[in-house]
Symmetry: C2
DNA sequence: GCATAATGTAATAATAATTATTACAGTTTA
DNA sequence: TAAACTGTAATAATTATTATTACATTATGC
């Protein structure tokens, strides 16, 4: 799994704490420690699904459009990483009963695993994440 | 996540269907479509945990030591891939409240996710996997 | 004893996936 | 019309995964 999922969570949490004004991809990328273009790519997905809106030009950036407790981690996972749990099986030997059938069996099991994971992730909304972040040891924001 | 987990499942399923004799890493690797050295590495982990035993020399190979229904997929996950769900967070900005705390928050959430996944994976033993493989469309083994 | 067939494992090479960077077009503001 | 943004494609760099090679070790059968 690449880190689009966690970057999306990071970005949305950042936006949640700046809900009164727009944040630039530069500001978010500095907070997350990755390249701004990557942030824009991830946020472009979230925009497509209506979680945030963006504005180009001076004073532009990204801002949350929904209520924090309307967006949960499963929603974000589905947008950024659906199927990521699925194992990548190399082409196995079709002449062997195991090789011929393992892919199908694993696919079914991992599909169930992803659904199960979904039940867990639905318990966390961005609001909860923000609350956890606010229970901080460290503080300070720029 | 690398494919050690699925390779371990594949290998154990293979051994389960050959429970009366030893199987070589060459035979398993041919079934799984990967290099025999990789199979030996994965099986060396499973051996360390007592799921299988091995024998060197002519006529040697690997064989199951436990009952098929004693080994579940969570056991195998823990051996081959513990912590693999954990996101790799780049060093983020400690001066930002989000950057300073996100790693800790995500770590906690993903730890819970892995535990939750465990509950699901415990439902599948190698016996169940073997049964699923036997409900095959394709058949034939060499 | 010795050739052969296997595991065990380290070191290295090749490949694939992820991430960063560059480049530039489009938009908005002042 | 310059400056500050987003949007996105193309490419480069880096990292992770997998394959390969090499060789030591162990067991078997002749």
């Amino acid at each position: 799994m690449n880190s689009d999922f966690t970057l999306a969570i990071h970005s949305l949490t950042f936006l949640a704490l700046q809900s009164d004004r727009m944040s630039t991809s530069d500001a978010i990328s500095e907070s997350a420690g990755v390249h701004p273009v990557r942030i824009r790519k991830v946020l472009s997905l979230l925009k497509k699904h209506g979680f945030i809106k963006s504005k180009e030009g001076t004073g532009g950036g990204f801002i949350f459009t929904l209520d924090l407790s309307e967006v949960n981690l499963w929603d974000i996972y589905m947008i950024t990483s659906e199927g990521a749990l699925q194992p990548k099986c190399p082409d196995s030997n079709e002449k062997c009963i195991v090789g011929a059938n393992m892919k199908r069996v694993l696919f079914a099991i991992f599909l169930g695993a992803e659904e199960h994971l979904g039940e867990y992730l639905k318990n966390y909304t961005i609001k909860e994440v923000v609350d956890l972040v606010n229970q901080d040891q460290n503080s300070g924001c720029d």
